[in-house]
Amino acid sequence: MTEAIAVSGLRKSYGKTVALDGLDLSVAEGEVHGFLGPNGSGKTTTIRILLGLLRAGGGTVRLLGEEPWQAATALHRRLAYVPGDVTLWPNLTGGEVIDLLGRLRGGVDAKRKAGLLERFELDPAKKARTYSKGNRQKVALISALASDVELLILDEPTSGLDPLMEATFRDCIEAERRGGRTVLLSSHILSEVESLCERVTIIRAGRAVESGSLADMRHLTRTSISADLARQPAGLDRLPGVHDLDVQDVSGHGGRLAARVRCEVDTDKLGGLLRELTDAGVLSLVSQPPTLEELFLRHYAGARDHQEIPA
């Protein structure tokens, strides 16, 4: 696997504030990689270091095989970047900005640009001053997508787009993936990451807390189980990896149903639980793998516990 982005032990602090505290990030060539984390966890700082706008305070960074601080200008020919908060020159039109940024990267594909303008329904003749946040974001997106580059770095690119435009964005990224482009997608929209990204990295307080494919990550987390049983189960609470166990005795209601069980189980301990449940006569069983949202909330909530309840 050739790595488009290889970051290890990355550090950056502003005075006493530590923004990045030994971050690792690895993105393979041709991969769409999700970059998740709560607000202020260091995503944008990481991206700015990747772009060579900030100097790393420690650790190593390789972008397309080069050191971004040293080779910033040469690297920028090979990538396109969409900032999270797009600010444009108020008296230039959207079309002018798209052309300008594309040319400064090395060229815009006029046909592709025209197609993107149509798909994103952007009027390029309007002055940037009159654009809404979503339209400013479209300007940056179209300019990036119309450039012929190896790597796209997108910092929350859809935060201002409406659902229709978000779908258009997904189609475009899907097409980029098929075309073999590498994409680093920082986002808060989990369904977007879930549908687009093969692998994700979750960062919190300046370090990566999870990294890998979504399938692997699910494996490391809990599956929620709810089952109707014919007999009272025994010893479920002694099983390893079972959490939030809730057993209701409903034998008084008549019929075959004797007990209702709800619980969470560590996914690698799922087998043991299922054996116990089968012994108690499973009438119905619902097993839900964790959504990315649950994964995410666990890490975010962890951050909150960590920060706000120090005692």
Partner: protein, 537 residues
């Protein structure tokens, strides 16, 4: 809901946001006047020395045009003459910055939308800006009165001078309030208001430099002229103070009317669609810099041309002002005869344009910081544009643009003074050439001042705005007040303009200009080197 709801809370917020800036402005305004009064007291102790100073001033149209008329040779009148109109200009600038900051700048940034969605009246923001500016001017007026009285100047005159400056500032607060309705951008609004300020200053100049039979009425046509017409320490014409107050009230009412007729975010000039594709030439950082600065530059150059022509056209009045008498003849002889006097006047005007060009260059340099801090620079620097070529493009616009501004001023002054026969016995073409040279001789000094801003932008970006404008303010104070305050030579030498040859007419020294150019290049290089090493944003 009242159209001024929420005023109290928002004034508190504004005062808190501006607490450092307000104190700094009020301090500068006060210290400018009080320190002049104080040092004049030490410098001109005898009646004879004051008389000599006064006769030197009244017999030189150049000095009159710079500062306005002088009414008698008392200490107070001399001090008021020397700093009155300059401080009024500074008070005007302060008011413009305060009002635009709390009206159009907040509106452009979207902050006003957030505030406006709360229980806040339609005119509250405008009222906040005006009231804050009024309070700042009142504080400056009070402190000038107190300070000048404390250093021993007559209390009545001190009060008149303080109020003349304060009410002039109030008038420009109202002008800025209108400008904030007319232009959709804070930068444009500031530009409009500052243009009005400069125009009123030049009208005052023309009136003050005109002989007794000439266009002296121009002093009454300009709010800066009103400051001089208050005649502080020379009769104190209190009723004149009603003029700026009434004018401010009228203009502010106009601003409120305009504000109630427009939508949030809108301007009088509706936005028009532009080109859907960029021109083929818009493909480099230099092309972008040119695209962003060309309109403003055209405005600065046109202004310099017109004002240069206006100042050049009164050059011939320099002679008509002169009476007879030994002192005067000596003064003329010292200055090199009649044509020498005209040349001295034109040279003084050219140094003013040097300051103007420095102001332009600083504004271009600081636009880089505003691009960086508003994250507009980020997408450009994330393309194949290196930091150095991005910054060098804007520095090029700063250099070429200030050269253009100076050339326009020289051209205007040369044409008008040449056509009116003030050209030291040379033809119009030759006079234009002389003044073009004289104007462009200011360029290296202007670039040294802008170079300070460029060096700070690279090395200490957070201080570049304050540092750049402070450098210009220092150079201005040294140029306008240095000789009269008899500042130590090393202090005067700090300003690059001290080293510029007094052209036309004076002895030229290309060596000094080369040194200044070298210093400017070194400052810019330091800035670029710093920019390469530091974090962006």
């Amino acid at each position: 809901m009242s159209s001024l709801a929420g005023l109290r809370d928002l004034i508190k917020l504004a005062a808190r946001r501006d607490r450092v800036m307000l104190v700094a402005w009020i301090y500068v305004l006060t210290i400018l006047v009080v320190s002049t009064g104080y040092s004049f007291k030490g410098l001109y102790k005898t009646a004879a020395s004051r008389e000599a100073l006064a006769s030197g001033i009244t017999h030189n149209a150049a000095t009159l045009a710079l500062a306005g008329p002088l009414y008698n040779d008392s200490l107070g009148a001399l001090a008021a003459y020397k700093v009155g109109s300059a401080t009024a200009v500074a008070a005007g600038l302060m008011s413009i910055f305060i009002v635009i900051r709390h009206t159009r700048a907040d509106e452009e940034a979207g902050r006003l939308e957030l505030v406006g969605s709360t229980a806040v009246g339609r005119h509250t923001a405008l009222a906040v800006g005006l009231l804050l500016a009024a309070a700042a001017n009142a504080a400056a007026a009070l402190l000038i009165f107190a300070g000048c009285s404390l250093v021993g100047l007559p209390a009545g005159g001190s009060a008149a001078l303080g109020l003349a400056i304060g009410t002039c500032g109030l008038f420009f607060a109202a002008v800025a309030a209108v400008a904030a309705q007319v232009s959709a951008s804070a930068r444009g609004a500031r530009g409009i208001a500052i243009c009005v300020l400069v125009a009123t200053y030049l009208i005052m100049s023309a009136g003050a430099a005109a002989g007794s039979g000439g266009a002296r009425w121009l002093l009454w046509a300009s709010p800066i002229g009103w400051v001089t017409q208050v005649r502080a320490y020379a009769g104190d014409s209190w009723p004149v103070l009603a003029l700026p107050v009434a004018a401010a009230a009228a203009v502010a009412t106009g601003a409120a009317l305009l504000a109630s007729r427009r939508d949030l975010g809108a301007s009088l000039v509706p936005p028009r669609p532009g080109p859907a594709d960029a021109a083929g030439s818009l493909r480099s950082p230099l092309a972008l810099a040119w695209r962003l600065h060309r309109v403003a530059l055209a405005g600065w150059a046109a202004g310099a041309l017109v004002y240069g022509a206006a100042l050049g056209s009164i050059a011939h009045n320099v002679g008509s002002l002169l009476g007879s008498g030994g002192g005067v003849r000596n003064a003329i002889a010292r200055l090199g005869g009649q044509s020498g006097l005209t040349d001295a006047y034109l040279a003084a005007m050219m140094s003013i344009f040097g300051l103007v060009a420095a102001g332009y260059a600083i504004s271009v340099v600081l636009a880089m910081w505003s691009d960086e801090s508003s994250e507009r620079a980020e997408p450009v620097l994330a393309t194949a544009v290196s930091r150095v070529s991005w910054a060098a493009s804007q520095l090029f616009i700063a250099v070429a643009g200030s050269a253009l501004v100076l050339a326009a001023a020289g051209l205007g002054a040369g044409l008008s003074s040449g056509l009116r026969g003030s050209g030291a016995g040379v033809g119009v073409g030759a006079q234009v050439a002389r003044l073009l040279g004289a104007a462009l001789a200011q360029l290296p000094a202007a670039l040294v001042v802008a170079g300070v801003a460029a060096a700070l932008f690279g090395l200490l970006p957070r201080s570049c705005v304050a540092g750049g404008w402070t450098a210009l303010a220092l150079a201005t104070v040294i140029l306008l007040l240095g000789p009269t305050l008899r500042l130590a030579q090393w202090v005067q030498d700090v300003s690059p303009f001290t080293h510029v040859p007094k052209l036309p007419g004076g002895p030229g020294s290309p060596v000094a200009l080369a040194w200044l150019a070298l210093i400017a290049v070194a400052l810019a290089a330091a800035g670029l080197a710093g920019l390469r090493r530091r974090d962006i944003g």
